[in-house]
Amino acid sequence: MKAREFWLLFFPSLVVMGGLLVLPLLRTIQWSLEEVHYGTPGTFVGLQNFVAALTDARFGRAALFTVVVTVITTIILLVLGYIVATGINRLTTSRPLVLGIMLVSYVLPNLVGAVAFSWLFDDNFGGVMNRLIGFFSGTQVLWFTDQVPNAVLVIANTVWHMLPFAMLIILAGLQGVPAELREAATIDGANAWQTHLSVIIPTIRGVLGFVTLITIMDVLRMFDNLIPLSPQAASIGNESIMMYVYSVAFADGAQKLGLGSAINVLTIILILVMLVPFIRGIFKEAKAER
């Protein structure tokens, strides 16, 4: 294909992405160095916003909460996703039904799913979960006002929402594992446990890495599900980074746009660092193709 044709075909998409992604992003970077309000030009303040963000205890708590939830969720998703995918891989006729049911929580708007999820735990909505827990252990859990139970609730919801994704990608990976490989392992005397641990998992590590990457990226940005799940997020210390940005830079007329933008920039840097191995993979593929 000639260069002229390439740019002609790519141009409309480039205009949209340039105008509505690149320019806004540049504006965010500019704002992060300014004291600024919506609709008015800002004044340059250097790295003051970054200093303010990094020394703000509330931001520290939000970052800690977000990272802890991200790490725990990612580990649970990998383990559970692998187990469920292995199970579904054994199904034959009932597979479409099971996949269909599993997909619902992923396809539904995150916020709507979280609303439904929160009703199971909220005592004002019947308190089904607390009834169950009370039946077995006799205790009541404060799912919405106690920091740790609320974090557990958030993690449970995130796992519920993202499990179909993790499971499907791992399932695709499992289907790429040659049957001969498993047979060879069995002949060599490996038990099921050893086969999974030292044959199958190493074979699909690329897929597992991919699931890890996407999960980390998506959970670091969590926002929607916390609206119903953690209505008192700020006061109990369960605020996510994106909720913090929202509350300083947008909610209820908040105008600390510079601070919010600085936090966005810090988050972008974090995400870019994590993307490096994946980007190297794309360039390797591009090189191999040509």
Binding site: V16, Y38, V107, V177, A249, F250
Partner: protein
């Protein structure tokens, strides 16, 4: 980590084979226990919806009673009727659908040629642009949405369905291109050349040869872009106010209200859940392919 790992399911869709199939040589070991465990998992996965359905169809006075009332009441659809009659739900639903349809059409119209170009242009430019697409896909949403809010106010298009739709086109464009490009990459280049030797122009070839061949790929991308627009909460929250509010934003605002309105929020959630159930079953093949291949939610 390489992309070819994930190519599997694209081919499954484009060649019409079932997207997921049993692997030869798998011993069906203890399928009964696996089946029971998965059945329990399915019930757990669906439990929030089951509970919500029960709560929404109860009369208001017992809907959220604690301990829960499980029988002895007359099921009712009053919450749905109230939702329809006392709120602007119908308007919000229309907004949501308009935004989703408009953004899907525009996203495909500009995404298809771009993805095709990327799959055929033999240079580092193409790899570089894909990397940029991936990075933009990974950005925290507020980093682009807050400036969009400022710009849309300045241009006087704030709180219009068009502004929201075009914003979502841009936000989902990296994913759209990425997914479509993977599908195009599976179509042999010899086909392009043969068509062009026969006298087609590049654009004519794209229209007459590629797009018909890409049917399943385009459908997959279309379903995803539609779903992303339909699911979007954060962007709609920032870019809309009253006249172009979407259903997820409406549901979120109802949460802080009193009991009958909460039941209406539940009814609204149910109304969104039902089409999603249908999509999860009817379009399963395409969802599975898109997830494993584009694999990146916006």
């Amino acid at each position: 980590m390489t992309l070819p790992d994930l190519d599997l399911s694209t081919r499954a869709v484009t060649t019409g084979r079932p997207a997921v199939r049993g692997r030869a040589g798998t011993r069906p070991r203890r399928p009964v226990i696996t089946g029971i465990l998965l059945a329990i998992l399915c019930v757990v996965v669906l439990s929030p919806f089951i509970w919500m359905t029960l709560s929404v169809t109860k009369p208001t006075d017992v809907a959220f009673a604690n301990p829960p009332v499980l029988g002895g009441y007359e099921p009712t659809l009053k919450a749905f009727v109230d939702l329809w009659e006392t709120t602007y739900f119908a308007d919000y639903l229309v907004n949501t659908i308009v935004v989703a349809v408009v953004s899907t059409v525009i996203a495909l119209a500009i995404g298809i040629p771009a993805a095709y170009a990327l799959s055929r242009y033999p240079s580092y430019v193409s790899a570089l642009l894909l990397v940029l697409a991936l990075i933009f896909r990974a950005l925290p949403r507020f980093a682009v949405v807050l400036p969009m809010y400022d710009i849309s106010r300045a241009l006087g298009i704030y709180d219009t369905t068009f502004a929201l739709a075009i914003a979502l086109v841009a936000i989902n464009q990296p994913f759209t291109i990425w997914l479509l490009r993977n599908f195009f990459a599976d179509i042999p280049r010899e086909l392009d050349e043969a068509a062009m030797i026969d006298g087609c122009t590049r654009i004519g070839m794209l229209r007459r040869v590629m797009i018909p061949l890409m049917g399943p790929g385009i459908l997959t991308a279309g379903i995803f872009v539609f779903l992303f627009a339909f699911q979007e909460y954060l962007t709609a929250l920032v870019l809309t106010d009253t006249s172009s509010k979407t259903v997820p934003v409406f549901i979120a605002t109802q949460l802080g209200q009193t009991l009958p309105m909460l039941q209406q929020a539940g009814a609204a959630s149910m109304l969104l859940t039902i089409p999603v159930f249908v999509i999860a079953f009817i379009a399963q093949k395409y969802l599975v392919a898109g997830l494993s291949d584009g694999a990146v939610k916006g």
